[in-house]
């Protein structure tokens, strides 16, 4: 993984000093509240319903065991003993003291971490496939390009005061696990027949109030032009994006207003001036960055898969865990393990300091000390040997991180909602729990097959409800908390936005409504047909009819 050199280290060290001075001026009354707000937002500090919330950047979701132990320390020392894995692959702390944030940043800087640009109208943390660099279906490892974009976008002089927040995602695999279609810029990196690395560039995707699937504006951009082309897009957005209405300020609204063709023309005209400028990447630049992401020294004598077979036969819970939580690795004898945080009764994505320390230990013992955070709010251990899987599963299970539900109904994405977030219309965590309780049976969930259920507490869509196969959105109905249900959304390849089934439901009615929806699916599905495909085949009507049928 990427390691700081002295330049990076100096930058984050100076960031701590800089931010500490701003905090001190604010606390001394020298910096007005509304001005400090903009400055602290560029450093990940929100003031939430109950307390400040600090979002720590985990660049493209990758961290090492030492960094995770520091996050555990922060949870223990400055917070209430837990942190939250966000849908942007970051880690959030819900209870830090504003005055202590500079100390937290200091602790982070010591392990090459920071909170720069994790909120505010600027280029946010770059996200990618949580299996980047190790997955079997990858054609190009996206991590070097994520890091190049991270560096380029850090305190960019021109693009730190955009009309609105700006999210960039990159994938290099055939299965899109980074949801590139619903980002302000989605990049798909691939290798051509002549072994050249190129990017397909999509713009204007996004969720929020106006969900949109991104549109392709450039196919096959040679890698050397990556940063200058991004510069052209950002300049067009910075100059022409709307600033009069924050709900219309994202790039998707601009792309829609200009049309994708019009937007592309504008970007190309701008890029004509930038092509070949000194920010163009040289072979040497690329080689240097790629050198940071070389494969680990894997054991070339892979363990036999036989042991795994007998263990799976003996323990059906382990067998299910392997089936759902273990993904194929490009290196024979190794596997990618997802540690699910989605245990009934625990808010999705919440992890305790003890769990963080344990995951860090496992990363050292069952891998090369590296951990990933997925946008589905789970931990990933990327390099586990086959013969260690059983032991890891046992330990994970006893630490409440062994749920065998990755990709199933109870592995839901859920925003912090009304329990924490001041923007919420409704709570989301208690609803997630009620649904998990109702569908607790593994056999039932397994029978349902792959199912993404996503919950957001308001239109801002942090819980990605638009792209849940089943999406739930908290709405305000005359001051009461209600929930709107949508069906048919999807975040990966061939992304689609969910359609609203009809009038919203009270919280107590949502689990039964979900049950009815699932029953319709079970009744109508063809053999082995997943929920999404079944919905796409039969459409909304059968679901609608049964859900709103008059009860006798």
């Amino acid at each position: 993984m990427y390691r700081y050199d002295s330049f990076d280290q100096k930058f984050v060290d100076e960031r701590v000093v800089h931010y500490r001075a701003q905090t001190e001026r604010y606390l001394a009354g020298e910096l007005p509240e509304d001005e400090f707000l903009q400055l602290r937002l560029r450093n990940g500090l929100y003031i939430q319903r109950l307390a400040p919330m600090l979002r720590v950047a985990v660049p493209y979701g990758i961290l090492d065991s030492r960094q995770l132990r520091t996050l555990a320390h922060i949870a223990r020392h400055y917070d209430r003993g837990y942190g939250h894995l966000s849908t942007r692959q970051n880690v959030q702390f819900n209870w830090p003291e504003l005055a202590e944030v500079p100390d937290i940043l200091q602790d982070l800087a010591e392990v090459q971490m920071h909170a720069i640009q994790t909120s505010g109208s600027c280029i946010r943390n770059i996200t990618t496939d949580q299996f980047a660099g190790v997955s079997e279906d990858e054609s190009v490892d996206p991590r070097p390009y994520c890091e190049l974009i991270r560096q380029w976008s850090t305190s960019h002089p021109e693009f730190d005061w955009l009309p609105r927040k700006f999210k960039i995602a990159v994938t290099g695999a055939s299965v899109d696990r980074a949801a590139v279609d619903v980002h302000d810029i989605g990049l798909v990196v691939f290798r051509t027949d002549s072994d050249e690395i190129q990017f397909d560039v999509k713009v204007g995707g996004g969720l929020g109030r106006t969900p949109v699937i991104g549109q392709m504006i450039r196919r096959g951009l040679p890698v050397r032009h990556l940063l200058t082309y991004l510069e052209a897009i950002l300049r067009v957005y910075n100059r022409y994006g709307r600033r009069d209405n924050k709900y219309k300020a994202r790039i998707k609204i601009l792309v829609r207003a200009m049309t994708a063709d019009g937007f592309r023309d504008k970007v190309d005209a701008e890029w004509a001036h930038l092509e070949g400028s000194p920010s163009t990447l040289t072979d040497e630049d690329l080689a240097r960055m790629q050198a940071h992401f070389q494969p680990y020294p894997y054991d070339s004598q892979p363990a036999s898969i036989d042991t795994l077979g007998s263990q799976r036969l003996e323990e059906c819970a382990f067998d299910a865990w392997v089936r759902h939580n273990v993904a194929p690795h490009k290196q024979p004898g190794y596997a990618i393990v997802t540690l699910s945080t989605k245990l009934t009764g625990v808010p999705p994505g919440d992890v305790s300091d003890v769990q963080m320390d344990l995951v860090a230990d496992w990363a050292d013992r069952y891998g090369f000390g590296e951990i990933r955070i997925s946008h589905e709010q789970n931990f990933v251990l990327p390099d586990v040997r086959f013969e260690q899987l059983f032991e890891l599963w046992q330990q994970a299970t006893s630490a409440q991180l062994g749920a065998n539900n990755v990709g199933l109904l109870s592995d839901m994405i859920c925003c912090p909602g009304g329990d924490y977030c001041s923007l919420a219309n409704a709570k989301s965590i208690p609803l997630a729990e009620a649904i998990q309780r109702k569908f607790d049976s593994y056999d039932y969930q397994h029978d349902l097959g792959p199912l993404d259920l996503n919950i957001s507490g308001c239109m801002n869509a942090c819980g990605h409800h638009h792209v849940g196969h089943i999406g739930i959105l908290g709405v305000d109905k005359k001051g009461a908390e209600f929930y709107q249900v949508s069906l048919g959304g999807h975040a990966g390849n061939g992304a689609s936005l969910g359609q609203i089934i009809g009038p919203s439901f009270s919280r107590k009615d949502v689990p039964d409504t979900i049950e009815t929806i699932l029953q319709v699916y079970l009744d109508l599905r063809h053999e082995d047909e997943p929920f999404l495909l079944c919905f796409r085949r039969v459409g909304m009507d059968p679901f609608k009819e049964r859900v709103y049928a008059n009860p006798d």
Partner: protein
């Protein structure tokens, strides 16, 4: 009282943005686009959303107005005037210029700042250069950091 920062220090201002009245003796005028004539020797006042134009570059001074400090359009306009139209005169930030933001402004090519009051000018001077260096290229530094210093050691 508005206070000018130029060459990293507080300076007397010999320019004034004029709407109707003529400025005092020895003070040069900065006028809005509608009132500006290229040969006049007047400074030109632009809003952040203006389209840059090669014609403007004969002005000895261009002031870009920030309606609110968080509106980044003035930053792009400055970059374009400097890097695309090779404007070499004084480029001044006026309006809601925030003392904590000068390190963005100067990398976009501004070289003077009309601060809303003396206090904010003092604050700005104390936070002019919070970082030794930056990753990316800018108007001040045409090369990204890894091209200038040894990186990835």
């Amino acid at each position: 009282m508005p206070t000018l920062i130029k060459h990293d220090k507080i300076m007397e201002d010999d320019w004034a943005i004029v709407e109707v009245e003529a400025p005092a003796d020895g003070i040069r005028r900065i006028v809005p686009l509608e009132a500006w004539l290229p040969e006049s020797g007047d400074g030109l006042l632009l809003q952040g959303e203006c389209e840059p134009d090669a014609r403007y570059c004969v002005a000895p001074l261009i002031a870009i107005n920030f309606l609110v400090f968080s509106d980044g359009r003035g930053l792009s306009l400055a970059v374009l005037l400097r890097s695309r139209f090779d404007f070499t005169g004084e480029l001044r930030a006026v309006g809601d210029v925030h003392p904590d933001l000068l390190y963005y402004l100067n990398r976009c090519g501004f070289d003077s700042y009309l601060m809303p009051d003396e206090r904010s000018a003092q604050t700005a001077l104390s936070t002019l250069a919070p970082y030794t260096d930056y990753y990316q290229a800018s108007v001040l530094e045409p090369n990204p950091a890894h091209r200038r210093t040894r990186r990835f050691a």
